[in-house]
Assembly symmetry: C2
């Protein structure tokens, strides 16, 4: 069928008569002029319909309801005061389908009301802008890895054993066997890195937590990378380059969406390389200097991360966490085995941990010892131990939570708006 | 740490001394010369170590076992007879870790043996080549959509209701509610298309089938697209352009991997646009002309698809299937409602259905009627029906099975080799 012109390409057609196809987002009328605001998913444009020029069309257009599907013909002109910078002088309007009374009006609605109608809510300009930014971040991350010799190796979603305890795992009946939805592809990623050198994966991960905070989803997407012959320092460098690359790309390509969201763009422009780095111990000191009570050896909570992030314009690494509170596979610092060669990357503006990463134990005996200390069943990890039996090398990796990154870049109050169809504690619909 | 040179970049360093890091894939010795074949996941290179030039190094190298991790220093030279086109004259070898006796030797192994060691099997040249081709196809598909104004909108993995019956669904306990792993994002994609115009998603999908064929996996990745204002013809054009784009990119960037697999590349070069198109009815006639017994109205099985594909060099569309055997949402052909505006794309060389797609019903009443005919619970589809209540437009979409596409392009016997960690009827390990 006739494809028409996408609204985002109107700038290429100034002075021409084009046809756009989309939905009526809103309408204003002065009695003599109707302003039809049309969205097509790539942008919005105001289309100006003058009664004296086309009285019958004008009458017909009066009956078009919000979210009705329409085809609008008109001449494109520059109009800096108008959204997107262009307007159309309407020469024709065709009604494709008349919408019933649309539930999401231009007044305020409660979050539960909107969440129940998420399939419609995503049409609104703010949600639409967030989804476009999310998509840009996703493509950018992939481009980054592709350009840096990282091979995509998908990790499995259905997994046989728990990586770190089963309390937060979704369990599944797999043809009579117990299986679980993945929380992280990391162990597989280590195997994949030994096969392709540098790898990344990017897929959904799951956590069956009984949490109902603004930072938690049951289903979220994670970008994970793992590289052979990368040490902890290489790994942090890779992370900061990736995050910086993403921020620059969004600034370049999705600036209008950021503006639509009312994002303070200067905050993103202030992100600079290299990212600041604190040791865990320094971070504890920083907290104490701000009057927080904190005991060395504890893990940071969200409020601590927020306080730490407030001292920096860029994401900040917290380096060398206590070995005790980190996963069994984290490599101890040879210079100080109380801490590991692992860091979290904390987002600015109180968005918390974006990335967790570090160098992995490459020594077979130490890894076996750690499994024992953590009371993990060795049989389930035999294949993982193989990676240390056959050509073990120094290697490191990380996982970036996509939704928290989107939330930070868009400055959203809650991660539920960062994903098209959020899965939360009491929400699996639509 | 020192990163060294990736083997795939050796061509840029002819005449220079470089250091590569990787694993010993194989070794040959003449007594005076050792040939160390090193892999690093980006390629393989033969490194030549001459006893008279470095007697101590030569002795040490004798003890390096298969899959040991090593660092090799040497001068790069062109050598057309050698794999990859280059060789290294070794000036130094450093052992990073000595491998225990490697289970996957250079002789033949049974598939079950290899599958139990999939985490190691992926290191071998054939499996490695397949994974690189898979990654290239994945990135290419995303590039295609990005370039064609399609926005990535991730569909959910955990879903509340069954799209088409529950017998092949993995069921999940979602905090006390029943939920299922997605079989297809399509219904969500339709909602997303009404929000962003043209969308795609690309993620894992699941089918709990008790099938054990060479075409089935329990967990597989699907590329799905959905576009507002696309009709059936637009949809088929999009599909053929995407598949053609993928084939050209693999030919351009992964030719060496195809050669390593022994792929008859002329078969891929023979793929041409536009793809041939048969109506379902014509396909039935074709089968009959080949001596097959077939009754109009039945669905094709794998053997039928193979016979049909044998008549064509390119993937072939089978268009306008009987309405009776297709999903409830498929739009009937206004000129002949016995058939739908939907087509499957059948891969060449007997690889069967790659894509299923079609135009969707955009009329509310007809869709409600279809739900009833298919005995589907209307409540579960209320949100989906909303898409016809509020600004319904003609729209179409499709889903491409990644693993079958990889199998065809690589000409593999079984889809289990197309995915890093296959999930099959009796296999969820490693
Ligand atoms: Mg933390
Ligand atoms: Mg079929």
């Amino acid at each position: 069928m006739q494809q028409g012109t996408l609204i985002k390409h109107l700038g290429k057609h100034v002075g021409e008569e084009v046809t756009i196809q989309g939905w009526l987002y809103n309408k204003r009328s002065s009695g003599k002029i109707q302003f039809l605001i049309v969205r097509d998913g790539t942008g919005m444009v105001q289309s100006v319909l003058v009664k004296s020029e086309a009285p019958e069309l004008f009458e017909m257009a009066k009956g078009i309801t919000q979210e009705s599907a329409i085809r609008v013909k008109g001449v494109v002109r520059e109009e800096p005061r108008s959204m997107g910078g262009y307007e159309m002088s309407v020469t024709g309007v065709e009604l494709i389908s008349l919408a019933q009374e649309y539930p999401i009006t231009h007044k305020e609605h409660g979050v539960d009301f909107l969440m129940d109608r998420r399939h419609l809510w995503i049409r609104t300009p703010r949600q639409n802008a967030v989804l476009r930014i999310r998509a840009e971040i996703e493509q950018t991350a992939r481009d980054f890895f592709h350009q840096n010799d990282f091979t995509l190796v998908d990790s499995p979603i259905i997994t046989p054993a728990a990586c770190e305890g089963t309390t937060t795992l979704f369990e599944l009946d797999y043809h009579g066997e117990k299986a679980y939805l993945t929380q992280s592809g990391q162990l597989y990623n280590e195997a994949s890195a030994m096969a392709v050198g540098r790898m990344y994966c990017f897929g959904p991960t799951f956590r069956a937590e009984k949490s109902k905070t603004r930072r938690h989803l049951m289903e979220f997407w994670m970008i994970e990378a793992e590289a052979a012959f990368f040490d902890h320092e290489d790994n942090m460098k890779l992370q900061e380059e990736m995050v910086y690359f993403i921020v620059q790309r969004v600034l370049e390509r999705r600036r209008k969406d950021l503006e639509l969201l009312g994002r303070d763009i200067s905050k993103l422009e202030a992100v600079k390389l290299p990212f600041p780095k604190l040791s865990y111990t320094e971070a504890v000191e920083l907290l104490k200097s701000k009057g927080e009570e904190f005991v060395w050896g504890e893990d940071f909570g969200a409020p601590h991360e927020t306080i730490i992030s407030e001292s920096f314009d860029s994401p900040v690494f917290i380096d060398r966490y206590p070995t005790e509170i980190k996963a069994f596979y984290m490599k101890p610092d040879p210079a100080d085995p109380k801490v590991v060669l692992g860091a979290d990357l904390i987002a600015p503006e109180g968005y918390g941990e974006m990335i967790g990463g570090g160098q992995r134990i490459d020594d077979l005996q130490l890894l076996e010892q750690r499994l024992e200390e953590h009371k993990l069943p060795k049989e389930a990890f035999e294949w993982y131990l193989d990676l240390r039996r056959y050509g073990s090398v120094p290697h490191a990796g990380f996982g970036l939570g996509l939704e928290r990154t989107v939330a930070w870049i868009c400055k959203l109050d809650h991660v539920r708006e960062t994903i098209p169809y959020p899965r939360m504690l009491y929400r699996v619909y639509p």
